[in-house]
Symmetry: C2
Subunit: 329 residues, 2 copies
């Protein structure tokens, strides 16, 4: 498989693929420090919860290789933790790094080993998700996925897209349907870029075309990722996921979500979940060009909430759990 690398760590240098320039240009940025990384995360040069967690840890390693003082390192960790407030993986991974900084005897070596291991484990988790996902395919299928959940969101082959990649290897994918995923276009910019690279057949559609394609019997299966999954099976994911889940139920098309078990949030209840409302710039501009009036009034929720009774199954690195949807699968 033609691996796409959103992060390269070689000869003690850290390079990050600038996802803002995709799919047009492949530009790597050498990350010089953790402050630099915090800015890159804030500015969306990279995204995907698992990817930013690992990247942040690598950037602390860069600081250590540059002989930064422990006190400074701890300050940097605080800054990084706040660079993407919704990402629980980022917070947890950096807390581990913090412990190493406070307790280690040989900081350089211990941190090095920790980060390399985290990266390796992430790759293996992705692979296990993809292998576990194979069982949901009954035949060569047209699969709809959403947003971006592949190489560019993890350091492995991805979550929902990883399942699709593994299924493609096994001859189980006829075509992938990519809704463009407004407003940030992760579908048309990032997922499309990955599928072009991997030479997997796909069609790009607007988000509002999904119902019509389903009504024509075009789509066999839906697999999306997850930003957070509550203990009752409620899925919090990219805005538009609820839409697809309702349509899938209406047309009796299986709807799966794929994620590492670290995405389970067993502590929060639905009332605790705050859905991030982002600024209007993303909706009224594309590539910095205005597409409607600058003074437009906009509602821009970044995520939505899909109840368990709309979900056919949950694909994780531990297996597949069948969900709350009542129809025969």
């Amino acid at each position: 498989m033609n691996v796409i690398k959103p992060l390269i760590f070689e000869n003690d240098k850290l390079l990050i693929l600038d996802q803002r320039k995709l799919p047009f240009e492949e530009v790597y940025i050498e990350v010089k420090s953790s402050e630099h990384m915090a800015k890159l995360i804030k500015d969306m040069a990279l995204r995907g919860a698992p990817l930013i967690a690992i990247s942040a840890c690598y950037s602390i390693l860069i600081d250590v290789l540059n002989n930064k003082e422990r006190e400074e390192l701890l300050k940097s960790i605080e800054i990084l933790k706040h660079s993407r407030p919704t990402a629980i993986n980022l917070f947890n991974a950096l807390s581990e790094v913090e412990k190493i900084i406070l307790n280690s005897k040989n900081l350089k070596e211990e941190l090095y080993n920790f980060v390399i291991k985290l990266d390796q484990e992430e790759k293996e988790r992705c692979l296990r998700i993809s292998e576990n996902g194979l069982k949901i395919f009954k035949k060569e299928s047209v699969v709809l996925t959403y947003c971006n959940t592949g190489f560019l969101a993890t350091t492995g082959i991805g979550t929902a897209l990883g399942v699709i990649y593994k299924a493609f290897e096994k001859g189980l994918i006829k075509e992938v349907i990519i809704p463009e995923t407004r407003p940030y276009l992760q579908g048309s910019r990032l997922t499309l870029y990955e599928l072009e690279k991997l030479k997997i057949p796909y069609k790009l559609i607007t988000d509002n075309s999904i119902a019509f394609l389903m009504s024509k019997g075009y789509i066999d299966l839906v697999i999306v990722g997850a930003d957070r999954v509550l203990s009752d099976g409620t899925l919090i994911n990219k805005i538009g996921t609820l839409n697809i889940a309702i349509l899938s139920k209406y047309f009796n098309i299986p709807f799966y979500t794929a994620f590492p078990i670290s995405t389970y949030d067993n502590n929060s209840k639905i009332e605790d979940v705050i859905i991030e409302e982002r600024g209007k710039e993303e909706v009224i501009k594309i590539n910095n060009n205005l597409i409607t009036l600058e003074n437009a009034k906009v509602l821009n929720y970044a995520f939505d909430i899909t109840p368990a009774n709309l979900i056919t199954g949950y694909i994780t690195d531990e297996g597949v759990n069948y969900g709350g949807r009542k129809e025969v699968i």
Copy 2:
């Protein structure tokens, strides 16, 4: 009400507001011939089923005023009929023009009278639709509409938006929710432009946000337009309409469609309806700027098909017919 004019016919000159340049610039194009008009329709300089029907008839009148031969006129009518295959009004109005061309003794005068009358009747039909629509409101409401069905889609106050305008005058509109309507952005460019002009409160959203807003109880009512309605109540309308109809049923929100009775197509069956598949340029470019790879593979259906059992009611110039949705309204 601050009237917006998508078409001006004065001193035997025909001017069309170039809707591609909205909401940024108000530029009128003088239409020199029916060939010119066919190209403008194909290129989306104007759209909206009632508007293109009347505009096409006016352009034949321009040809007649320029002393074009009858044979040439009949050829032009064929070309115009195919400039937007889904629009039944266009087909029907041009068939009337065809009859006049074949049978009239004083072509110039008869055609002139026909077109002016058609235009006037259209304005009156819009008003009657808007008045008939008032009865669907039970309280001051947040209404979701779709695409553009107002001044810019008709030569009157519009169909679905016309109902909203009349209801706003009566204090029945709290806020209008405008999905942007990809790929052509008729929501964010045209409907938003109209509501800004008329100072009606609104919020712009991405098309994939509709489900989440409905799940939060934000939306009281949906009113969309219609490109064609079959005798069994099947609605053919802008791609994404089916999506909204399914979501409305799921969340038990009334879903209405508003249109002049000329939009009824009593001859066709669902199998006869050809859904226009447009080129990929609209999806991969916005304002001529590429938003994904030029060689992207795209499926771009312009319309979709909503069955009657998803429709609460049909608002026309003759009244409101309640549809096939089973719940109590």
